[in-house]
Point group: C2
Chain length 172, copies 2
């Protein structure tokens, strides 16, 4: 007879100390998936812990209908990718990250769990070929839906002195 | 009798040299507006040209249903705001920015005109009071729908050496 194994706590289950809200009854706007991000990671536990230090080259497969919108993207050293965490629950307000003893507000976290589960990564552009972009420094699951590609402008996007107090204090 | 004034070219009209595509027949996912960004700018021509240098303090009015998700946000020096450019057309692939002689691909531009008109700004957080955030360095229209608030982590979000070749070459 099998013994029932303890179910591991999933990122998207609710944990003790977490707080949920009731979401609005209807959406206000609609999104198109414009492509897919292809990575070697099929399960969340396989994804790199620190995307900034990951040297794995991943690819963006853009829907060919948008091919011409890539004009001049090859001149960018870094891009901002917005993508959709389609498996994330959307109703949590207070989340309990692993290894933390107290909850934190969703808007103080980069967790995929949020009212609009749009994730953002600053990636290094390696190469553009037709509608395929080779990129580095991403940590998402294979086949993640892509929402947008933006050029990264250091003049407005780079804030080297920015800090996140709760995170800094935790790591002291 | 009134003479008909020349209609000014709108950001969201199509211009010579621009290229549009046919968008997919249906949306793939839905968004909630989680609040509004309040600024002094009611018309596009009033918005500051350079948000990074603007000292105007604007406010984010968060839907009170998400109030608890602001826990610990006050410890962040900078935030990433994602907001929805609800007046932007979504079908342009090649755009002709003002003062440029040739078109550029939508994904090489930060124009609000894109398949998913999600705009992104890195803002300085001044103060959090209940569900009102005081922020600096934003340039959007008053009442713009808010989609997300994220903490800015310099370790992954700041790339001071990033460059956008087409833009650098233009400004030489």
């Amino acid at each position: 007879m099998e013994t029932k194994s303890a179910k591991s706590v999933d990122w998207f289950d609710i944990r003790p100390g977490e707080v949920a809200t009731e979401l609005p009854p209807a959406f206000d706007a609609g999104l198109y998936y414009i492509g897919r991000i292809r990575t070697p990671w099929a399960r969340r536990e396989d994804c790199p812990k620190n995307a900034a230090e990951s040297d794995t080259v991943c690819t963006v497969e853009l829907d060919p209908r948008y091919a011409r919108a890539l004009d001049k993207v090859e001149t960018c050293s870094h891009l901002i990718l917005l993508y959709w965490m389609d498996q994330a629950r959307r109703d949590l307000l207070i989340q309990m990250p692993r290894h933390y003893s107290e909850g934190r507000g969703t808007f103080a976290l980069r967790s995929p769990v949020r009212p609009n589960p749009i994730a953002l990564s600053v990636v290094t552009l390696v190469k553009v070929e037709d509608t395929i972009l080779q990129i580095k420094n991403i940590d998402c699951l294979d086949n993640t839906p892509l929402l947008d590609i933006k050029p990264y402008f250091a003049s407005v996007d780079s804030k080297p002195d920015a800090n996140v107090g709760w995170h800094r204090d935790h790591h002291r």
